[in-house]
């Protein structure tokens, strides 16, 4: 279907855009930048800040003017006003600039302005605007109402004093993620973004996905910085410091060093981590391959027995948290396989410890993740201490890793590439695609096909049906006549639909329409994670995704069951059996359980 095009004039320039385009995006098409602050392309335009105001030229009402176009006194918000055919728009005039400047002055009069100590300094949208507009003196007296920061979760910190009430976090939390933890609370200057009834985040529906922190234009929501814990472990002579990096980190951390999103930096990260002082560098992609062995055999078992279907992936801790709160009727459907992070850490403090004769109590495992929810996952229940100690000691987000590299004075851009350490470092292409939506499903299908058919490889190693940015992807996969119905969803807000479809099937007493469902809480999967460099857009996500698929294609081995270190692990340590195949050791180390949790968790 052809999109209807309309023509309008912006600053005297004729622009042709599809019908329905906002003035803001129409201006962008004409290479005119209208400043914005509350606007984010992921979200419905909120129209709250008033920075993007523009003026329309309208026919004069004075008959003497003969219909001449004159500036209308009323200003339009470019972010949420639709461009209409024949419209004349003026984006910059001294008055408009003054109105924008006044908005900034008003915001700054209500902001701590302590940029030097702010986690977002240098990447702050307010800071850049203040610089662009040359704000020097502020006619308005400064007054900041102080609120205590919310540090109740291990994942993110709410720092209300810095909040500019743009509403992005609430929009992300409610509309994108369907979580409803954050809302505007209070009125007037007392307005604050927090959970309903002012409860701490930890007692709220928050799933710790951190998307609010990735979308916040300023430093009002950020990851709980735990780099200090890691530095101190690195300095502890008793500790053997092991580290793992998640698939999505390698295609995003470069952004902090001026590289393009999607640039593969795996080898540089390994090198940097060694320079920082880690004793051994492992890759979560290895345990992603292990996950496929565990979850893949679990699926085959359930599918053969037609029991507890659909199987739901459980790699994403924000998704498991959501399910435990909002869909506890699905706990039985969850794959009991732990996330790759937890598998690798448990193996560090058991398998690796045994092989290297190190007492697990002296092993410190740091995990570098694109995710804030992972910080919560490591202590969510006793299964996260399968080794007898807390398996993962500290989780750092991609953003924290970038800061550590900078603090260590490492010239990241020119760093020669290194390799991961043995035993837990090798990975296949199937492991690396865990970082994008559809990746877990695709990796599972590659291996399941071979295990079910006994063939060496599926007809096509790329399962295109599960790739791409559609919120819900549905397909039927033909494994030599056996039809497997699958669904893939990413961005929490897209998930309820498929959950409700299964509920409907249950109600009607029919076979569930899907056999296997993959869910990732963040848009685009982990590459768009809440712990990744801030302010990702779909453009950035597409570049990171491309980086992940490049990594997959570069691998000689692209199916998890072919990973030689995985094979060695099962042979040497796990009695040759996965958890689903009755392997007790695998079951103990690599599997967990789920439980119903209250949406609002009030301490009595």
């Amino acid at each position: 279907m052809d999109t209807e095009m309309i023509t309008l004039e912006i600053n005297g320039k004729t622009v042709e855009v599809p019908k329905g385009t906002s003035i803001l995006n129409a201006a962008k098409a004409a290479h005119i930048k209208i400043p914005t602050l509350c606007y984010h392309p992921d979200l419905k335009a909120g129209a709250s800040c008033g920075i993007c105001v523009v003026r329309q030229l309208v026919p004069s009402r004075n008959p003497a003017d003969n219909g001449k176009l004159v500036p209308s006194p009323k200003l339009l918000r470019a972010c949420c006003t639709e461009a209409t055919p024949g419209m004349h728009i003026l984006t910059h005039d001294p008055d408009i600039v003054q109105v924008r400047k006044t908005v900034l002055e008003l915001i700054l009069a209500n902001h701590p302005n302590d940029c030097l100590q702010c986690p977002r300094s240098g990447r702050c949208e307010l800071q850049s605007l203040a610089a662009d507009f040359g704000i020097r003196e502020n006619p308005f007296p400064k007054e900041v109402l102080h609120h205590e920061p919310d540090t109740s979760t291990p994942s993110i910190v709410l720092y209300p004093d810095k909040c500019i009430k743009c509403g992005r976090c609430a929009e992300v939390c409610q509309e994108m993620q369907n979580v409803w933890a954050l809302e505007f609370i209070g009125r007037g200057e007392k307005t604050v973004m927090q959970p309903a009834a002012g409860v701490p985040l930890a007692e709220s529906p928050c799933i710790k996905c951190g998307q609010c922190s990735a979308h916040c234009p300023v430093g009002a929501i950020y990851e709980n910085d735990e780099t200090a814990k890691v530095w101190s472990a690195l300095q502890d002579p008793e500790k053997t410091c092991l580290v793992q990096i998640a698939p999505a980190v390698r295609v995003a951390v470069g952004e902090a060093f001026g590289m393009k999103p999607g640039e593969l930096t795996t080898g540089k990260i390994y090198a940097a981590l060694r320079m920082i002082g880690f004793d051994k560098v492992f890759d979560t992609n290895f345990s992603a391959d292990v996950t496929i062995m565990e979850e893949g055999t679990e699926f085959i078992k359930r599918f053969t027995e037609q029991k507890d279907l659909p199987l739901l992936t459980s790699c994403c801790p924000a998704w498991t948290d959501w399910m435990e709160k909002y869909a506890p009727d699905f706990t039985e459907n969850f794959s009991s396989a732990k996330s790759p992070q937890q598998m690798l850490s448990a193996l560090c403090k058991s398998y690796w410890a045994e092989k290297n004769g190190v007492d697990p109590k002296n092993i410190h495992v740091t995990s570098i993740m694109p995710c804030t929810a992972k910080k919560y996952e490591i202590s969510r229940d006793e299964n996260m201490s399968a080794s007898g100690y807390q398996d993962t000691d500290v989780v750092l987000t991609t953003r924290e890793l970038a800061r550590m590299i900078k603090a260590a004075g490492i010239d990241f851009n020119d760093l020669p590439e290194e390799k991961a350490d043995d035993l837990l470092g090798a990975y296949t292409g199937a492991g690396t695609i865990f970082g994008v939506t559809g990746g877990v499903m695709e990796a599972a299908l590659r291996t399941a096909y071979c295990l079910i058919t006994g063939e060496a490889q599926p007809p096509s190693i790329d399962f295109q049906a599960v790739r791409g940015m559609d919120g819900v992807k549905v397909a039927t996969i033909d494994i030599k006549g056996t039809k497997v119905n699958i669904a893939v969803a990413h961005q929490m807000g897209n998930v309820e639909k498929i959950i409700n479809e299964i509920r409907e099937d249950r109600k009607n007493g029919v076979k569930p329409r899907y056999d296997f469902i993959e869910v990732m809480a963040c848009r685009g999967g982990c590459i768009g994670g809440g712990g990744q460099p801030c302010l990702a857009t779909d453009e950035v996500r597409a570049q990171r995704t491309a980086g992940i698929y490049t990594d997959d294609e570069k691998c000689t081995l692209r199916m998890s069951h072919l990973n030689p270190e995985v094979t060695a692990l099962y042979k040497d340590y796990l009695d040759g059996k996965t958890g689903a195949q009755g392997g007790e050791k695998a079951h103990h180390l690599l599997h967990t359980k789920y439980q119903k949790r209250d949406v609002y968790h009030f301490e009595a």
Binding site: A47, S48, G50, L75, V99, V103, I107, E183, G188, E189
Partner: protein
């Protein structure tokens, strides 16, 4: 004989229920019939008790107290035993000389009677005259005849009749009612909604509360007519939870209407179905803004949406919706029964019909006033309201609440009409009319309203959330004598920014009280800033207290009352106030019996 107690919230607050309870206690033998009604609008005379003989009002007793209960009861019971009931007459306001002369001291004065006599009541036509909790009482005064008439008309004809009437939205904006109805009627959508905005929030406005408390069925009937006209089958009344009595009476009225087949499926046997539900609002001022109200109705936080799309196109749950205010609906049944032309015959070229005002402040007779458009402000304030109370002099009238503005004395002959009021910088608004005398400081008044809007801002727009707060700070500074040259200009700059940049009506109109006071009372701003002087002697920080030795008798009362020991002096000798210690609480002036304390 029947005693009817005025039990609107105003009457109840003044003690009407206590008086009724005392009478009921005496009335064990039911010698006197006892009833209730709503608010007649003379809030300053509450509690009001009307004595009816047959259907005729024979005496209106005002400011009745519990201690009066016995003699009222006795007089009325005796009169009832003495004479046979009279036949009901057409006018319920008519009074004649019933033999109740012993209650003459409680009877309404001729002056006070003028308050009602000078009004023309349409929206308030039944308020204070019928029992709001009895559907039969409403039906007895032609209630629900208009909906019967409407069900025989086409929706287009109904809209045409409203168009003829020239009725405009009484909530403040003054948008033609027929136009909104027509837009909602023509909007595409299976399900359409009708919403009544009863989230009355302007400080000093209470006409919507009075209508719901006193005549809920006229609201229901008006809504049914509107629902029929636009094709809505579901309707809501969004009423603030701070109006508990209004909610209770509306609930009773809805139940009675439902029982009578006036609500629900196939109303009065027709093909028209409509249900009305009450939604209690949590008391956010911004929820009076229609798009914020819709958000709140949907269960979200009440924050305005961007318009367009207008509610007529995408309103409640994105379906076509029409929102009108209580007073607008209260006019509808009357227009249908009496014809649009009769309504349009009243008023001015641009504003038709009548408008209800809540007259408050330093006014002699405060309460609800309904007058035809086109009367002057002077007619209302001096003609009906009786002018300034306590012998004060008029200074200004604030119209339209926090979104409105101040109108000074030289504009008192401004006609009450949307256009003429708008030209003054004020607005018609929902009808709040706060009268101020020479003791009111206009800077402080502007500060009061900015305090209100700053606190009630939903927090969405920067201009409104922070801008009003900064304006409030500047105004506070001025009233404390800490103003600076350039403050007025900074205020004006902020006002213009907020007007241009705020998303909704609350923000866009928030500067009006400041702009109008600067426009008409700039000298007061300058006196505060340049001379640290409050010409009205209202701003506490700028007041000075001293004792006139010629008047002081040395009674020592002021010195005893002073909480900080700032007053010294020997007995029977003139006292003096130490300005360094004085905290300007005003206790001395309130205590002095000789008027010796001079406030400067």
């Amino acid at each position: 004989m029947k005693l009817v107690f005025g039990e609107g919230s105003c009457g109840i607050a003044a003690g009407a229920r206590k008086v009724r309870a005392a009478v009921e206690k005496l009335n064990a033998d039911n010698a006197v019939e006892i009833g209730i009604t709503g608010c007649i609008g003379m809030c300053y005379l509450e509690p009001i008790v009307d004595v009816y003989d047959g259907g005729t009002l024979v005496k209106r007793l005002v400011k009745v107290q519990e201690k009066d209960a016995e003699r009222i009861y006795k007089a009325v019971a005796d009169a009832g035993r003495a004479g046979a009931p009279r036949p009901p007459t057409a006018s319920v306001q008519q009074q004649d000389g019933a033999p109740l002369s012993e209650l003459a001291d409680l009877e309404i004065s001729a002056d006070d009677k003028e308050f009602l006599e000078k009004q023309t009541r349409i929206a308030l036509r039944h308020c204070g005259l019928i029992d709001p909790e009895d559907i039969a009482a409403y039906e007895a005064v032609d209630g629900y005849k208009a909906i019967r008439k409407v069900l025989a008309m086409t929706p287009e004809d109904v809209i045409a009749e409203i168009k003829v009437s020239g009725l405009a939205g009484r909530g403040g904006a003054g948008f033609p009612t027929w136009f909104k109805w027509n837009a909602a009627r023509n909007a595409k959508g299976e399900q359409k909604y009708l919403i009544c905005n009863a989230d009355e929030g302007d400080p000093g406005a209470f006409m919507d509360r009075a209508v719901i408390e006193s005549d809920p069925h006229s609201l229901i009937e008006g809504m049914l007519i509107a629902a029929y006209a636009i094709g809505a089958t579901k309707a809501f009344v969004y009423v603030r939870a701070e109006y508990p009595l209004a909610i209770v009476r509306l609930e009773k009225a809805l139940a009675a209407a439902k029982k009578a087949g006036l609500l629900g499926e196939n109303i009065l046997g027709s093909h028209f179905s409509c249900d009305i539900r009450i939604k209690a609002g949590a008391g956010a001022f911004v929820c009076g803004e229609e798009t914020a109200l819709i958000e709140s109705l949907e269960g979200n936080r009440g924050m305005p949406r961007l318009k367009p799309p207008f509610p007529a196109e995408k309103g409640y749950t994105q379906a076509p919706s029409n929102i009108n205010n209580v007073e607008t609906f209260a006019n509808v049944a009357w227009i249908i029964l009496n014809g649009g032309a009769a309504f349009a015959a009243m008023g001015t070229e641009t504003s038709k019909g009548t408008k209800v005002f809540a007259l408050t402040g330093k006014i002699k007779r405060g309460g609800l006033v309904e007058i035809p458009m086109g009367l002057t402000l002077r007619d209302v304030i001096f003609g009906i309201g009786g002018g300034i109370r306590d012998g004060g002099t008029f200074k200004a009238v604030q119209m339209g609440g926090p979104s409105g503005g101040c109108i000074p004395e030289h504009l008192l002959d401004t006609k009450i009409d949307y256009k003429a009021l708008g030209a003054t910088g004020a607005i018609m608004g929902s009808g709040g009319m706060v009268v101020m005398d020479s003791h009111t400081c206009m800077v402080n008044m502007a500060r009061f309203f900015l305090d209100f809007t700053a606190k009630e801002s939903c927090g969405k727009c920067v201009h409104c959330r922070i801008g009003t707060k900064r304006m409030h700070e500047i105004l506070t500074r001025i009233t404390e004598g800490k103003g600076k040259e350039g403050d007025v200009e900074l205020l004006q700059e902020l006002c213009n920014g907020i007007k241009a940049g705020a998303l909704c009506g609350l923000g866009q109109t928030a500067p009006n009280p400041v702009l109008t006071t600067i426009r008409y009372f700039r000298d007061e701003y300058d006196a505060h800033i340049r001379e640290a002087r409050c010409p009205a002697h209202e701003c506490a920080a700028l007041k000075t207290y001293s004792i006139d030795p010629a008047k002081c008798k040395g009674c020592t009362m002021c010195a005893k009352k002073c909480p900080v020991g700032a007053i010294t002096g020997a007995v029977k000798q003139p006292h003096a106030i130490d300005p360094a210690k004085c905290i300007k609480c005003g206790q001395c002036a309130a205590t002095c019996k000789f008027g010796a304390v001079v406030i400067g």
